[in-house]
Symmetry: C2
Amino acid sequence: MADVTSALFFAEMSFDPRNPHNPDADRFILSKGHAAPILYAAWAEAGAFDRSELLKLRQIGSDLEGHPTPRLPFVDVATGSLGQGVCAAIGSALNARRIGSAYRTYVLLGDGETAEGSVWEAANVGALDRLDNLCGITDVNGLGQSRPTMWQHDMDQFARRWQAFGWHAIVIDGHDLHAILDAFARARATKGQPTMILARTIKGKGVSFVEGKEGWHGRAFKKDEMDRALAELDRQFVPASAGVDLARQIPRPPTVPRPAVAPQAIVPPTYRIGDQVATREAYGAALTKLGEADPRVVALDADVKNSTFSERFEKALPNRFYENFIAEQVMVGAAMGLAARGAIPYPSTFACFLTRAADFIRMAAISRVNVKLAGSHAGVSIGEDGPSQMALEDLSMFRAQPDFAVLYPSDGVSTERLVALAASHPGPVYIRLSRPKTPIIYANDERFEIGGLKVLRQSARDVATVVAAGVTLFEALKAHDALQSSSTPIRVIDLYSLAPIDREGLLAAARATAGHIITVEDHYAAGGLGDAVAEAVAGAGFTVHRLAVREIARSGKPEELLERFGISAAHIVTAVREVTVGAR
Amino acid sequence: MADVTSALFFAEMSFDPRNPHNPDADRFILSKGHAAPILYAAWAEAGAFDRSELLKLRQIGSDLEGHPTPRLPFVDVATGSLGQGVCAAIGSALNARRIGSAYRTYVLLGDGETAEGSVWEAANVGALDRLDNLCGITDVNGLGQSRPTMWQHDMDQFARRWQAFGWHAIVIDGHDLHAILDAFARARATKGQPTMILARTIKGKGVSFVEGKEGWHGRAFKKDEMDRALAELDRQFVPASAGVDLARQIPRPPTVPRPAVAPQAIVPPTYRIGDQVATREAYGAALTKLGEADPRVVALDADVKNSTFSERFEKALPNRFYENFIAEQVMVGAAMGLAARGAIPYPSTFACFLTRAADFIRMAAISRVNVKLAGSHAGVSIGEDGPSQMALEDLSMFRAQPDFAVLYPSDGVSTERLVALAASHPGPVYIRLSRPKTPIIYANDERFEIGGLKVLRQSARDVATVVAAGVTLFEALKAHDALQSSSTPIRVIDLYSLAPIDREGLLAAARATAGHIITVEDHYAAGGLGDAVAEAVAGAGFTVHRLAVREIARSGKPEELLERFGISAAHIVTAVREVTVGAR
């Protein structure tokens, strides 16, 4: 990789090592993140930081981690889970188009990495979107971690795949600098399609006892091996001819003046109390208003835009809507790349299909990127389509990640407000949306905050607190009315923000209701709303009685399923009676 | 799809509708699960059940769900999350080879579905493994859910991709029965590679007002539309000529007598107390012994066999070891297909990379298949490689799924015993493994059970219970010793089974230690060991003090990271003091 990286950093790319975030600088993404040392070496050599820092590699006090993370200013997205950097590169290339910049995006993949399906999702989208500002390089060294790779040095295996997927494929000797530079020049001249340079390389090239041999992956040299290797490399060193032209390092100015980013006020919701509106539908409306107010906002879809209502955004703002077809990994990965370059991306699909991108979500959290994911059709309340279409573990997936905001609106007003708040919240956000229509319960000017909750029903005589969100909130309200008639008032909380969570608000309710807290969620029992509330109040000695889906769901009518899986108003009423009768 | 399905069910496939599980019956997997109605119609027509059942489609009392699930005896794996059935088909085809059966596996994909990266993971593995007993059919109708598909009716886009990936690709008119039957015959005659039949179809063919039109995806006919459609179809109906040959429906007997499955006794562990053994290494040993004792056991890898030590299984039992290279989705999907056909598959990789297959794990839970996943390199204790390689949300991911057993051994003996127990436990199992070497603490004849725990330290004066597993168990033991010297004895529990969980065992400890429970886990705070214990004891009014990783991790030495992220012995000691001083 030394040859390819040298050519990229010191002849091909335009960038400013002292200002890696220059919006017009070419981008380099190391998709094979395990090769981090050469990335760090290249940036040090370019002048981004002092070379002495390199000796702190992988130490706890250094940001030069085992795999690249955006703790370093020149890293856009964390890599190290293979097949992800190339998806982020799609987003980076789309962003150049969005801001009207001539910057190019380069992404370096491993050969073994191309077994990951996400690589081929990126390949499809790159070709479809005709991203000729994108150039991939595959380091075909033929050796995987545990054995030779699938295709080893059979370059045609690679070339025919990339060509079949619509890319300009160039096979070269990856140790021939002239061939490398020529390939980059051909890539720059290619219009209407991305280029993949397939570089045949020898792992450990130039070190006789390592070259092309297995057993050295991720293994450091011992002292004597290192001495020998350095001596061999020194003998092969050819000093650069005087006056190497590093002029390409200065980013080109934008070809057209870039419009200033000046978000305008967002049009407020205009519902009437009692109107029936699915939160997924309110999401479409909110996203469109947000996009009209803020040019950084973009939307991404995976062929369900008519179910998530993101099609409204596409209709209003087609140039900032990216269709990925049925490919959730590249949808989320591209969103990560867009976010790293200043866009505020809203990828959305059915919440259950976001689990397809769980590893990307994990890496988005590590990257701390500014993505706003929305998942619709949460829970058994979708009804007849059955368990494969029901998200019952999405809250768990997102809550598990530190610093991920997790929002779960129940009506159209709170949806519109939370979708807008997500845009101004720094870092990753998840918004859970429901399929069924639910009544508007908030006034259009109601104020929400990330980390807040709403107490919807309360009295001085409340015997228990019921915490709900989304569709179960309406079950809690029904339970409240039923219990009210038998003089057993309950407090009802809309926990629209699961993370961060309003601990004080929950504790106040718990204290006011003799510590009787019942949670009810259209989600499995582990990792969701019940666990969130339980941890929040545990320090004060309160426990939680949880109503949640506790077995594999099935097809049926939504109301039948709420009943069958124990999260209906009737079950809440029973739980309130049990909890208050069997008081400690 | 009516034409393709008719040809498959009534001319091509050998199967017994009254015994779908016949081990030599051809398999049919509907990867485009949303087309469930035609699957049900075909099986009813073949005689699997009464046609009147079809009218109960999607009703709560019927197993004819919105998408197919193995509640139905003729469904091997649940489908409905696209791109998964084709991965299961790889496993089904591998299983035929394993048991020496001539059965063939057919899998029907949607055209839009082929945008999913997992399809191309399956394509690679199918070609590499030369699965000529596998035949795919892609229904190229050109219409996605929300818009025309990526390539619409450009058949060459499909053909060149499958050819590039090494499959025999056949393009046909999907409404020409002779062409369909001829393609199946050509697929059967093809040796050394799988076949993909690319069937150009018109959605809604034969119903004039629907044919080839958008807006009908997932939409039911109204009464008058239905009457008109049926009338149009009736006019086109051609009765089968008398004496249609359904002889192919009878599965062929095995060509060679199949060895009886008679698992032998597993060689017990042979460690000495105090030996230093990483649980991942014990996993490799255990898996090999298990495979030697039970011919149903198979292992799957994603190019980390030298890190998970599954390479030991490969060395001993190469014919039951399946290398998927760096492609976790097809690894888990193939395991699902193998499990559905009677194998006991152990797919393993780094635990963090199992999140790449999170959606497959979700569908494995819905399918209730007998897969045993193992994830190594859990937590910050992997050290220098950094957060991208650390699984800190895997317990959450697996615990979220109902009926998933979640095991987390801490030493070599418990690892060997739990790996063996997993094989005899019906349904899906997850085994969490660690990178560092840890001392053997159990005698070789110690007995474990799924759903059990071990109390490792206890006295009549214990002030608190510390619940740990894996690497943190040894921190708890160190904390015990430190506290012992200051006359503050604590109870230490090895919670090697997180799901199911030994509620009574935990409650007994809580009651004996004044309700002071501290959990400590090398995992994020949400959804893991702390939440598991908290829910188990909540009903008795006990709360839990949780030590867990609460921010994005980073590179460093393992012991530095345990300290920095608050899960070391020193943090446990502090927590014990806090909890017991600040008692309620």
